[in-house]
Amino acid sequence: MSIRILLFISLLLSVFSGYSQITLDNGEHNLEISGTISTFYNQRFYYAGNSNNRINNDPALGYDKGKDKFGLRDMQLQLEGRVGHNFEYNVQVDFADIISNGTDVGENPGLLDANATWKGPVHVTAGFQKIPFSRNSLSPFTYSPYWQRSELTRGEVFSRRDVGILFSKTLWRQRINLYAGAFSGMGEQLLSLGDNDPSGTFEYVGRADISWPSRYRYRDFDISSSPVPMFQIGAGARTVTRKYSSFLSGDDYYLRVISGTKSCYTADFSAQWKGFSAQFEWHRIVVDPTNNLDPSGLRYKENKGTITSKIGNASTTYFLAGGFLTTLSYSSKPLRSIFSVRYDQFNPNDLVKDNTEESLNFGYAYLIRGFNSMVKAQYSWRLANRSNPLIQRYDDQLRVGFVLQFK
């Protein structure tokens, strides 16, 4: 391990300052080209009391250390265009995820954005885009000292992106943001599955937030050291009814797209002042499954949910999932550093006893040139009972790496 870390530190030292993006303009059409590269070293600390981290899940065999690895998280290219006063478009691709054949499309889809916006009295955005629901999900990942979002918001529980149409409006000098949209309901999986669910229904999403004393961007870290306290509160809801669930490899909780009705609710609070910042975000998911099986047995895999006792195996018509995350951070300009700690709690099914997952995450970033060039580290400390076979994540993990943005 020590040799690997030394090798990686030498790689980090080779990181040079970030560069600005490139803009082309003809007086009417403006095109901005930017991108992100990030890479990391991941080290797991294997817990001895659980056989799930052994080769072939056999306690007699040694640890499966496949997660001790170098990884390429991002290799993104973004094209943002503005035409005249009223039209914008946005295309963002992550080649690192495209090359990995989309094995985990919820968290890391190869396509991040492909949409166009008409900026009239109400902004209308059509295409593949981020769903305005969770504030943490809306906050760009490249502005974070963490390597992974919380379990709730990283795309395992609800889709973070989808194809659809979004109406948005800002009021009161951008202090109030309002969003309402209709999406396919398939989330990122639409990209690989193609067609919508046989029900042909949409997912409907709404969000509203208000900030004080001025507009508050979806950023979690006060690197500019705001001279006055700033606050934001928000809430969102989304609902979708599907005929079949659809699961893809990489699903941990089988909650992304379920058969029946799934409604999600969230509320959040964010504040910052003089480098200190705090966020709290709560989620409640109400799932009313029908457990309809796809006759072909190919595209929809409802049985996966019942095997793991996560969906609809009790004598009730619905179950609940949810949890919360809370983050406390400090950004120091003199030290060019962000220190952060985040507590995550997530229960994927309230009908299953003792399956609440908890973790404490420590994040640190050294900003060589702001967020454009930074070295960052995250340590995930699992707090839940690690010998509980219902828990998905029980090994602690350290991830160290660098991010270079051409933004």
Partner: protein, 241 residues
């Protein structure tokens, strides 16, 4: 447990110390501005009011307390810099990199030149004024990186200097013969050497998202806040000169 507690207390004390901004200056007066997202302000040459530009590409004329007197019918894209002297009224469009000279009677552009720069759309020219020492007009990019470009009388770039002293530059002005830069991310006003563009002195200000700076009609400086859409007048305590 005791070690953890002691470590936590030391950490909190350290972070608290880091968080204290010393000498942050409060404005003597504030005025609401009926202009959305004001991005720069300059004193009119007759000192009776101001010209203000906004993010959505409009030029406004105001009285001495920021009340809008006139609005230009011309719309650019993202006006971020405005400055007036005997050579004219100049407006910088960050998105297109166009430098406009406006007719002060009609508030319409009479000439347009492009200052070439291929950096980020939102990291282009944010500041414009005249170097009080060499008399050249200067335009300054916001950040990543910050370039100070000196222009000749035909608005051609004749010198460019890399500037590293601030996180960003959101506006520039000349006051009492001295050159000043305003920084949005550092929340400060810096007095700049007109010879080598080094920072001579800096003072923090308690203004959220400061984007414009100008000498005030009466005395002191006025700073405009983009997010707050307010003018902040610093009349008495500012000791930078």
């Amino acid at each position: 447990m005791k070690k953890i507690r002691n470590f936590s207390l030391i950490l909190i004390a350290f972070l608290s110390f880091q968080g204290i901004e010393k000498g942050s200056l409060k404005a003597d007066k504030k005025r609401k501005l009926q202009i959305p997202e004001p991005s720069d302000i300059c004193l009119k040459t007759d000192k009776t009011g101001y010209f203000v530009v906004s993010d959505d590409g409009f030029l406004f004329e105001t009285d001495s307390v920021g009340k809008v007197v006139r609005k230009s019918s011309f719309r650019g894209f993202d006006f971020e810099g405005v400055f007036q002297d005997s050579s004219g009224l100049w407006v910088m469009d960050e998105r297109t990199r166009y430098l406009y000279r406006f007719n002060t009677e009609t508030l319409l552009p009479v000439s347009t030149v492009e200052i070439p720069y291929s950096g980020g759309r939102n990291k282009g020219f944010e500041a414009i004024c005249r170097n009080p020492k060499n008399g050249r007009m200067i335009v300054i990019t916001e950040k990543d990186p910050i370039w100070i470009m000196e222009l000749d009388a035909q608005q051609r770039i004749i010198n460019r200097i890399r500037f590293n002293g601030l996180s960003d530059v959101s506006a520039a002005t000349v006051w009492n013969g001295n050159l000043y830069f305003l920084s949005d991310e550092d929340h400060c006003i810096a007095r700049i050497s007109p010879i080598d563009y080094s920072i001579e002195k800096k003072v923090s200000i308690k203004v959220l998202n400061p984007e414009g700076i100008s000498p005030a009609c009466n005395k002191g400086l006025v700073v405009s806040s983009d997010d707050q859409a307010k003018l902040y007048f610093f009349e008495n305590e500012l000791t930078l000169p």
